[in-house]
Symmetry: C2
Subunit: 336 residues, 2 copies
């Protein structure tokens, strides 16, 4: 029954340390009428992302944090029910910042239309959404891989990581994926056909990396930070590039974050560590969408999705992201 | 008397933790005769550099470490007494890797001639030596400053830092120097005319930086790492560049190095952190030498030198570098 009631997941209070149930508040408020440049949405699907941890941290970042009491920020896909925005009419299917809610009023400037005849709603939150674009621009534009180079990817079985691995293979790179656990490693080896797969939970990662990339690492796409980043830094090549996409090992307790102790290897190897967000690339989304869709339709690229059901599972879904329990892009299907 | 005896300072054992007197061994061996492609040198002047800490750490870096029992690696200036190398004849004055010794046999491939009619020997180890070239290429080639940008420099009163500050001023940048103690800060304000000078020992560096650079930091030239790097990272602008030149706060105990806890700001600000060594730029030394000399002769650039006397003071000089007791480029004059 509860999914038929309008439901919102709100930020209750900024977490101090690990995120627990006290971080969230579930409400059942009836949506207001849309104001100018707003639309009322019926939501279909929500995206659960590691970046959400930063949005509930009251610290300077690329976006202002969500405030306590506000609906939690999230990407989603929904249908326009009412529109006070020129760009949309009722019946349009849209994606963007929709918030963690089943229905609600959203600013139109954060939305764009999607075409469900090209791909299902879930794809617009995985390979054809921010996840795919992050992998595409982070690897190609920030990382600048060359065919034949050795590319190492952490959280390689994750939403962004699995896209990065596949795009790097398409570029002709030798791809080494790092993941935790036999299932994820089997997926990377068998479904994605990586050149080497390293289980960071299964022993000496440094020794395993040395065996998998004896000539060193040209490009490291980092989603995790912590001990894995430190291990890879010790094996970067001269002029290597480290792309900082995330640091999920540091998100559990952002007040106690620790930096990469081996960062001085960047000096020794004349190497570069570069961060990025999708803010820079919003104007190039059409290019990425067209290319990723073409690769997918040609069978060169698969979107790995892990779909949960019902808005009430959001707190659990959030935990799964940080415990690594998800297998691919974590989504919540809101259809009753 | 002792300076008349041939004297060498050798690495006794790799330090574990802080470097003490047990790290060094002083010997008085008579030099051998030069072999093929070697020269026998009479030394005049030695350079004492923070990078020496890395040379006595048995860890992967841009050069192999010095081995216990070997003469400690150092840059110096000396006169060729005997030559078995085509490029040099007795009487040539040369600079390069000479080692910490009063006289000795050196591989010619690490030496180049200098012209004492243009500048004194000390200059070829300060502004016209690796110190100056490191500042020149690190700032201009790695950092790529633009006129009007805010450039922050740590260890700003040090050998490299004071050169970076002056070259950044020549480029039309707004330069904020960070140094420890009133004397160094007075030098930066009065002798170098920086736009703002921050004493990291005198209170809240973050607040002082915010006041000095309210619009944020475009370019940070880091010589120190540690808390200062973390503080500046919190105030970098979008697309900022962090040039990693050194991390002297981390050199005291390299086994316990800590990385910049705020490194995820590189993601939030789409910023870049890049390391470099002079290895990349050896072929461009003539360009740097000509430009730095021209600036110096035009009165736009001064070389700050701190000269000690006698090879026996090498262990004490090494300590001075790490306690920040030197005022500019630390040199040891070996002339009796």
């Amino acid at each position: 029954m509860s999914t038929l009631l309008p439901t919102q997941v709100r930020l209750n209070a900024y977490p101090t340390g690990p995120v627990g149930p006290e971080t969230w508040q579930i409400t059942h408020d009836a949506p207001a009428a849309p104001g100018p440049n707003q639309v009322l949405l019926q939501m279909h699907m929500l995206s659960v992302d590691p970046g959400m941890r930063g949005w509930i941290t009251p610290k300077r970042s690329y976006m202002p944090p969500v405030k306590p009491g506000e609906v939690m920020r999230a990407f989603g896909v929904g249908t326009v029910l009412e529109s006070k925005a020129k760009a949309f009419v009722p019946g349009d299917v849209v994606t963007g910042f929709t918030g963690v809610q089943t229905t609600g009023v959203v600013d139109a400037m954060f939305l764009r239309k999607v075409d469900l005849s090209l791909a299902p709603a879930s794809s617009y939150l995985s390979g054809l959404g921010m996840t795919g674009y992050t992998a595409y621009f982070g690897l190609l534009d920030v990382g600048k891989p060359q065919a034949g180079q050795t590319v190492v990817v952490s959280a390689a079985a994750g939403a962004v990581g699995s896209m990065v691995c596949q795009i790097a293979k398409i570029q002709g790179c030798r791809v080494v994926g790092i993941a935790g656990g036999a299932d994820k490693c089997a997926f990377l080896r068998e479904a994605l056909g990586l050149d080497a797969v390293l289980d960071y939970k299964a022993g000496d990662l440094g020794a395993a990396l040395k065996a998998a990339a004896p000539g060193g690492v040209d490009l490291y796409f980092d989603n995790v930070g912590g001990a894995v980043l430190d291990t890879v830094l010790m094996q970067i090549k001269r002029h290597a590039r480290v792309v900082l996409c995330g640091g999920i090992s540091q998100y559990a307790d952002m007040e106690q974050a620790r930096g990469p102790a081996n960062y001085l290897q960047l000096i020794a190897q004349s190497a570069t560590m570069q961060g990025f967000t999708m803010m820079e690339y919003m104007h190039r989304i059409p290019e990425a969408l067209a290319q990723i869709l073409a690769w997918q339709q040609a069978g060169k690229l698969q979107f790995r999705e892990h779909v949960l059901h019902g808005i009430e599972c959001f707190p659990q879904a959030f935990d799964m992201i940080f415990s690594g329990a998800n297998q691919g892009k974590l989504l919540i299907d809101l259809q009753p």
